[in-house]
């Protein structure tokens, strides 16, 4: 069983984010990148599957600051093969372009399962998982929080809002958007990462031109600004309801009756 985990590096929110001079993108000069949290769970889920049923885990990362660190850490945790996609990722690559690029690299790897984070906080315009599945001509199941594989079939636990969980059987190969691994991402001691840096190899795959087609263009990026404070409506239930209706009507948010 070959499990491929493509990961994204997203802006680290511990650092202050700045908007660049063009006003429609993040200033990437001092941007620090961190593995997308959901992708970290995808790695963990892949390793849990490998521990239970054997197989090989391959991690793919775009060639950005921090990629080597993420790949070696994954190797220290138990990943078998590390691949870095080389190309000009420096000005930011949207989900559409990334999914097209990944599909070429992943297609050649002939995976049984592709596990990727269900979303990332830097780009919610079409998550990578469903786009990737479409390009790979594979089924997709998102918001997955647990997987069992046997006899070429996969049972996936899919989470729904309101605490509902469905168990779904999915034919392999397939792409899964991981919401959470069955266990929190494991800790790996620093000495094992240091060892991995000496012993593991990072392969490189050249990506070529990016095709961002299909993405919604970003026209303007702005900081959230606090303008006025919330008005607290006080009084009895009826008084509060009357006031609320009056406020909504005043702002033209209620259709007039009849």
């Amino acid at each position: 069983m070959h499990i491929v985990v493509p990961i994204k590096l997203a802006p680290d929110l511990v650092e202050e984010l700045e908007i660049d001079a063009g006003g429609a993108a993040l200033d990437r000069t001092f941007l620090r990148l961190i593995i997308n949290e959901f992708d970290d769970h995808a790695i963990e889920q892949a390793l849990l599957l490998k521990e239970r049923g054997g197989g090989q885990v391959t991690i793919l990362a775009p060639d950005l600051e921090g990629a080597d660190d993420v790949l070696y850490t994954a190797a220290a945790k138990g990943a078998d093969r590390l691949i870095k996609l080389t190309g000009d990722f420096s000005s930011g690559v949207n989900c559409h372009a990334l999914a097209r690029t990944l599909s070429k690299a992943i297609g050649d790897l002939h995976p049984d399962l592709v596990l990727t984070g269900v979303q990332a906080h830097d780009d919610l315009d079409g998550a990578v998982g469903p786009l990737l599945a479409e390009y790979l001509r594979m089924p997709y199941l998102g918001y997955v929080a647990g997987l069992t594989v046997s006899d070429g079939k996969c049972m996936a636990r899919k989470e729904y809002p309101g605490g509902l969980v469905a168990e779904m059987e999915v034919a392999l190969p397939a792409v899964f958007g991981i919401q959470a691994a069955e266990k929190p991402p494991r800790y790996v001691v620093t000495s094992l990462i240091t060892q991995a840096m000496k012993s593991a190899t990072i392969e490189e795959i050249e990506t070529g031109e990016f095709d961002s087609g299909g993405a919604a263009p970003v026209e303007r990026m702005s900081r959230l600004e606090a303008t006025t404070h919330a008005e607290m409506i006080e009084g009895s239930v009826d008084q509060v309801a009357d006031k609320l209706v009056a406020v909504l009507r005043e702002r033209g948010l209620l259709a007039s009756r009849g």
Binding site: P184, Y187, L192, T194
Partner: protein, 399 residues
Amino acid sequence: MTTTTTVERPFYDRVMEAVPSGEKLKLCLQCGMCSGICPYGFAMNYPPQSLIAAVRAGDLDAVFESETIWLCVSCFACASVCPAQIPLTSGLMASLKTEMLLRRKVPAELQTALENTRRYGNTLGESPRKRSAWSQNLTPPIPVMAQTKEPVDVLWFVGDYASYHPRAMLASQAMAKVFQALGIRFGILGPEENSDGDVQYLAGERGLLEILAQKNGKVLRKYQYQEIVTTDPHAYNVIKHEYPGVGVSVPIKHYTQFLAERIEQIKPLMRHEHKSIVTYHDPCAIGRANKNNIFEEPRLVLSAIPGLELVEMAHNRATSICCGGGGGGNWLDGFAWQQTHTRMSEWRIQEALASGAQILAVACPYEAPRFEDALKSMGSENKLVVKDIAELLAEAMSA
């Protein structure tokens, strides 16, 4: 997943090889003093003495299953009373915690602190660029070495908590005033400073300590200074005793040592009487840990404050009760509560209250937040004030 024959026997050898004097494990006569003095010994399935017996017998699976090793807060009480001088805290316990990390048995909060350290160079997960933010609005400004590039008398190793924790940074700001009042030319490393690595190492992360020590060592070699002074007892302990093993040998003083040397210069700077009864909590890391024995210097500095009456708690100096924050304990409060339904910091507060003190003086950045939290959880927040020695001095010096 592992068998006793392939893992545990070599583990015995590994523990002995990993630390200086590790071979002393063989000298254990099972007297039990370590388990008796261990503050959480009563709650451990395997207190230190039983651990040694299990290590010798190669019977460790049950030990790792029990997980109560994580109750150890590296207070060095066991090591300080061991008649065979076995390095229990820095050797046996740290090695067993490494084994727990390798077996992925680590409470989540501690895991986060270790991951934060690896990524950001501090346990709190704050931006390294904001490491000197605590000093930004002070006048006169606090010199950052990379900006001034001038030789200083004192290079101040501030430490994680003293740099980032909102309560602990009040003590840092007070310390800056004390340095200034004494006319000391000093500087801080700011964003170039990394976590000292003491609590991470004692929580089993030797590899992380080595990386941090190398980073700090590289920076410390860049600048000219007469001496390094730290406000963090953990930085003192690890830089003094563990950094040399990683090739970083620098002299270091705890700030209470530095101030005690200048006591005659400090006395005339006292402008206010501080009529209060004060008791002092000895931090483990500058106290009994590695026989650092910095017991009298903090008391000497406190006694320079006019009107201040110093009283002792039942446990003081080498027998001081730990605040519970060392060796990763600061991130294991939830775990310890689940296991014991007690808080070590509350035991200490009970002793401080019993001493009749109005003020609990501290000298470690973990302690003001930990003891103030304990006072709140005990409903005693109006009965005792927690102050760093630097804060008490700065108040007595203020115009």
